[in-house]
Symmetry: C2
Subunit: 192 residues, 2 copies
């Protein structure tokens, strides 16, 4: 078995302070002043400080996943995704996932738990993305989208959704990530 | 077989123009003025315009993957990843992957091709991330890191790397994504 490289090697830069370059509704751009302890050089690097995000793998009683399709401003395109959104300050990631699922789709499950967490982009984003598994999800209430959200809800068989991710029909990297983390659990259930 | 939802449903907002809020060395933050054609409302949304990125699945002749470990300014942590970086303006994604692999690790392969592409975050990023498969990669030259890069290079068995991604030892979402896109190809080879 291989082992990950040890902690020897590259140095840990030290954060000596930061200043905000820009504040927006969804993130802050900061210039962070770092010091390299061995080479004794200082450098400013740009970091985007964003709240943590969550995405929800919502499994229906008949083995389908809940999907959302919406227009995305970043790419100027429609995107097929699993539900998700921004975690409120102080909000538990699992609670946020349950909330986002309910608001975006009207689906409510009988159990929810944290499946995995990743870093959206360690190079310049400081936040986490959490993947929440909700089981026995059924359409229980009305959508309660934000004012500017228009979300089309559908369900599809897990195997189809995994195939769409691998075929490039699902392109949101965090959604692909969440599905990868869910896949072994799904395969294990199929074998039992 | 399920089918993705059709193109009916949510409206496509129309981009009526944008202005730059902030320019940094690695991206531009823009305020984009969108118009909703049905509801006839206008809204400004924040979009980060970034160059495309690439990550490289570099397979050695003995079935290992080339890994890099480095300090990341966004998360203020070390991160274990596959090689990758920013694609230069006008540069082909596959050429960029080959270049990043050589610069960061000194590894050079005998063939390279595009494996898949994703959107890092359609909500606010306008760019693509491309995954490049390089085969028969061997250490052929010296590292040529950027001035502020310190990169520790290692190799590890493919199965171990996939297990690390699923166990949370590899957390960069785009790296997890790239590994997910590589996995079926790897499984198929094992069966032949």
């Amino acid at each position: 078995m291989s082992t990950p490289p040890s902690s020897a090697g590259p140095s840990r830069w030290k954060n000596l302070g930061e200043r905000t370059l820009l504040s927006t509704r969804i993130f802050e751009v900061r210039s962070v002043h770092f010091h390299h302890p061995v080479r004794a050089v200082d450098r400013d690097f740009v970091v985007v400080a964003a709240p943590d995000w969550c995405n929800v793998i919502a499994l229906t009683p008949d083995g389908q996943l809940v999907l959302v399709r919406q227009f995305r401003y970043g790419t100027d395109e429609f995107s097929l995704e699993i539900p998700g959104g921004v975690i409120d300050a102080g909000e538990d990631p699992v609670a946020a996932g349950v909330r986002e699922l309910r608001e975006e789709t009207g689906f409510v499950g009988t159990s929810a738990r944290l499946l995995a967490s990743v870093r959206p982009n360690p190079a310049f984003l400081n936040n986490h993305a959490h993947f929440v598994l909700v089981e026995n999800a059924t359409r229980s209430t009305a959508q309660a989208c934000d004012h500017d959200e228009e979300i089309e809800v559908s369900t599809a068989r897990v195997d189809d959704v995994l195939a769409w991710a691998r075929a490039g029909k699902i392109t949101h990297s965090l959604v692909v990530c969440g599905l990868m983390h869910f896949e072994p659990l799904w395969q294990a259930r199929r074998l039992t």
